[in-house]
Symmetry: D3
Subunit: 241 residues, 6 copies
């Protein structure tokens, strides 16, 4: 099985295929590509909008390359919907995958996002994906995307702090990382929560959830419905080029 | 007052400032611009995605030109959310304006869109705008956007037919055109409905509703909330250019 | 265009045509009338119920006088629904107009009402108008309607205080005055909020929103749906008179 | 125990105490009063609005007369909310009582109302009472209130017909009469349904459900919450009288 | 009329027929039975699951004994749904009865349950019964079921404390006991609340509400809908016995 | 990895480990066990209730046997909630897994269940799992569980027929088998739909979806939240044994 992760930002080195290796099955071949035109990171609607066209191009390219499924590496799920129209293979967004996985693991979930300004966008996404009844809250660690990696202990401390508040104040039963830049910290965070008396609370790493879902869809020969995502009508789409 | 209509498609001649003149106040100066990069028409998520970046650019340009408010000329409201982040003047989408206006005029509304494939997208939009409880249905006339203008009587006949079915079968109390390409047909359609026994059913022309809302917002010194649409953080956004 | 504001209380001098002059278009002729039978102010369900019959009578009278649209001057929207049945011209309620306008300006809105006892009634109204998903909270300034005008600075201070709490504690992105007696204070309140670090939060003055909506409906030849508000069947209605 | 039924219409002979006798407990003393000012029947929002002031007066009078609980004899529940503010004894509306009783008896309910024009008002009422999720549909028998009594077999035939359609087409599991003028027909209707193969479908007679609820509330010393229905502030309420 | 209370736990002496005597009508003959196989008390999903089979057996037995209606004596309503399939007489759950009664008495209700761990289960139940819009919160007194009776003053103090917090912090307008082991304390609790300034807040004793509802259903010849609860198909059900 | 499928019915030969072999990963060891006490098949609430105790016992046994995750082989998901309390390993229900998987694949889903009587139970389950907004309908093939296997071509024909109606009449974009006895028919059904012009509609085989989800949860070291499913308090649970 061939999977491809498309990172919808232009910052070099934000992600690479190697880091995902521990999370794919041994018979899965995972490739990675970042977009070439778009924002340095995704932290607002404008960033998502500018990231989308090249993300869709990379999704189309992946299908042409014989890839079996694509995962978009951003919690805004940019390009997932138009990408599903443009190809026939599964296209998976980590936010959608994580919110549904969380919904299956408990009564309610909270999302720990990077910036305050994104909180209401997370709530809208829960509504968009049909799981608003399961959404407890979005909380922010107040660290920009590109600074998450600079001080991992500080990031984890902030995640544990906001996670505890989500549990106590918002009645969250499951937690989700709100940025794929928090990748790889689930185990440490669960340990941090347990050390403070909050054991047994699942912490979902969305990009990992998305990768596993992509593998499952390929195994089961399932792709997004063509009634929801029919192929785009033929027409001119970039007249000035 | 200066308004600008931004048409988010590249088809030359689809819209022009003159046609909107009867719908603005005498002291309103309306200008029009179409995007230069993007799809020929908007009929799917991919079209919306590709139309968005240049639409936002035109919105930013409008503010720089001293325009007081911008209306995006498409029922998909492409570019409205990122555009609101990028500027401080009101940015109005016809779908949002029409759905809220319809909600104020009756128990429920239906949207008469162009193609079957767009029906569920209209429903998602009603949910997105917080008026899902008012949404009765979306029905399609099955005429592509760029063919609407070719045979206006056929378009109106199809609108009347689907409008009657929305009233009878879906309990719609108010009707909304599902494409700004249906512009100007509200009066004829209301007459057509009345002739068939369905008088007293408001028919909303979304681009007109959006223009009037834009004027109102400028009058009242109201712009979209900066808590929902804060200015984008400074960063590189198109690294390859 | 002829508009009429109907004030559904019997307190002489609560409102007059002159005060609305700055908010209508230059070609709009605005008249004002108060009811003669009913409560001194509206602060509960009983007040609304007793205000309604004469409010409807004034709405019917307005249509007979050749008025083009009526605005009811109270956030309880008394008489709006039966009034719409009784006439063919637009009848606009400030609560409905303000809630939908707020919904278009941001993720969520709070209403700053006069008394604690009205808070749940505001929430019911948001549900009634189909925008419960957009409703963040109702907060009270704890000043009775007829005392609002006695100490305007105190009123504005209380509005700013409750507005800040709505933003911080209830995640409100847009604010609405909860009583038309707060009329005219939007600009000062926005300035007060900005001075405390809450710039960019729209404050909606409901009676002004209602007046503008009435003008728009007349312009667009739109009236409330007769499927929602059919003309009342002919019958005796006040047998003892 | 003393109960009073208040009939909120002015048509003489529409209801009387005797007819309710079989439905009260032997130790319950039931009195009846009709309003003196208001509509001949209730078939629209205007009728409800005009019926309300005198209905509230009759509710206040009942409390003064030492009555233990009041039932309003109309499916529009006119006067129930302001009446609850005005008195401390239970005030029960048949629509609210019937919808909650129906919700406890099955997955979903439909209401069989008199006129098409009332269908959406019934739906709004289900939302108002918090049981929209249980509401299957409202269907009309198309017989005006004051003609229900003229041809009872025709009324029952129409109820059975619409009840069967509600079961088959709208997935109704429980049925509710939509007008208290259908009083007394539940048994016949259940028999009619059973004869056509629809046994086991409860049919709720709302005024009977309301009377029983009133008895229960008196027994349990429960009245509507004064946080929802606080006593009205003291003020002038009918300045012209 | 013959009612039977089925207590779905095996703890001897938890409940008896005599204690319910003050709450049934003089012509009602109330019997009581506890299950013989199942948990000592019900405080989790596992307890409910293990209590259910014998509870259903007792419900079937009641019908065979000529009982007119059954009330299950637990706020988890165990066995109510399968019991309704298995018999034709009314089967009433106190949680369902109390939540609907509360919904009719005010804007919103809170449930005061025994343990924190049950709070989300109460919310799910409100959703299950179709009254999620009326649900304000669930709060816990943190006293296990079987210890409620040991120190009644402590139980009542804890109920008053959590009731006040539900009113102040969660906007509850009506309160419901979250365990039938709190039986009989409503009057004292209402007095306790009134003494602290929270008069006029109804407190519902669910088992009493359920008993009264059962009497009403028998009087009205109403049973749960056989479309929701059809008789189980004939088949082997306990193959190992 | 060790998985165990627990079949919560007593019919010998309904399922076996071998049949699931093609759907597990090569490194997964799958065992199967059926309950010994309970119904022959599950077609109503009573069947679910009677199946639950022994299903939980089998779940507990699985954990004691060192199994990594359990899948319950029935679309009623009996025993899943109490089982999650009783153990620390993942317990997966096919209905929950399938509904969330379907929600990620398209705008809306329908469930094709065995009997009419189960339709409303499926809807309740969609609400329970937080995806009611995604639920289009439940339709029945009208074949009892234990007859599904007798005539597979008839079963598939009925599934295709009801699937087409779900797509056309209920706007379903994704389909789910409503009984795990339909296991293995997804490919044939997708082909049948495509042959009738309904290509691109995913058909989900719930037991397969559940198995894959179980594998994913084990891989990711995720179990259901102990805040939702805390370990049961210690107490006597089967006093008569």
């Amino acid at each position: 099985m061939k999977l491809r992760v498309v990172t919808p930002i232009t910052t070099v080195g934000f992600a690479c295929a190697e880091q995902f290796a521990p999370y794919v099955r041994t018979d899965t071949e995972l490739s990675h590509v970042a977009i070439e035109r778009g924002p340095a990171s995704i932290e607002c609607a404008l960033d998502e909008a500018l990231a989308t066209p090249d993300t869709v191009a990379k999704i189309v390219e992946a299908e042409r390359d014989g890839v079996d499924a694509v995962v978009v590496n951003c919690m805004g799920d940019p390009g997932v919907e138009p990408g599903r129209e443009a190809v026939s293979i599964p296209v998976v967004g980590p936010c959608e995958a994580a919110m549904h996985l969380a919904s299956m693991l408990g009564h309610s979930f909270s999302v720990l996002t990077v910036l305050e300004r994104l909180r209401h966008r997370v709530e809208e996404r829960a509504r968009r994906y049909g799981v608003r009844d399961k959404f407890a809250s979005a909380r922010a660690v107040n660290i920009p995307v590109l600074e998450l990696d600079g001080d991992r202990p500080a990031m984890i401390a902030a995640l544990v702090e906001q996670g505890m508040r989500a549990i106590e104040e918002d009645d969250a039963h499951v937690l989700i990382f709100g940025c794929t830049g928090m990748f790889g910290a689930a185990e440490q965070m669960q340990a941090g929560l347990a050390a403070r008396g909050y054991g047994g609370v699942p912490v979902i790493d969305p990009i990992v959830a998305a990768i596993r879902l992509a593998e499952t869809l390929v195994d089961l020969h399932l792709s997004p419905s063509k009634r929801t995502y029919p192929a785009p009508p033929t027409k001119a789409r970039c007249s000035s080029e």
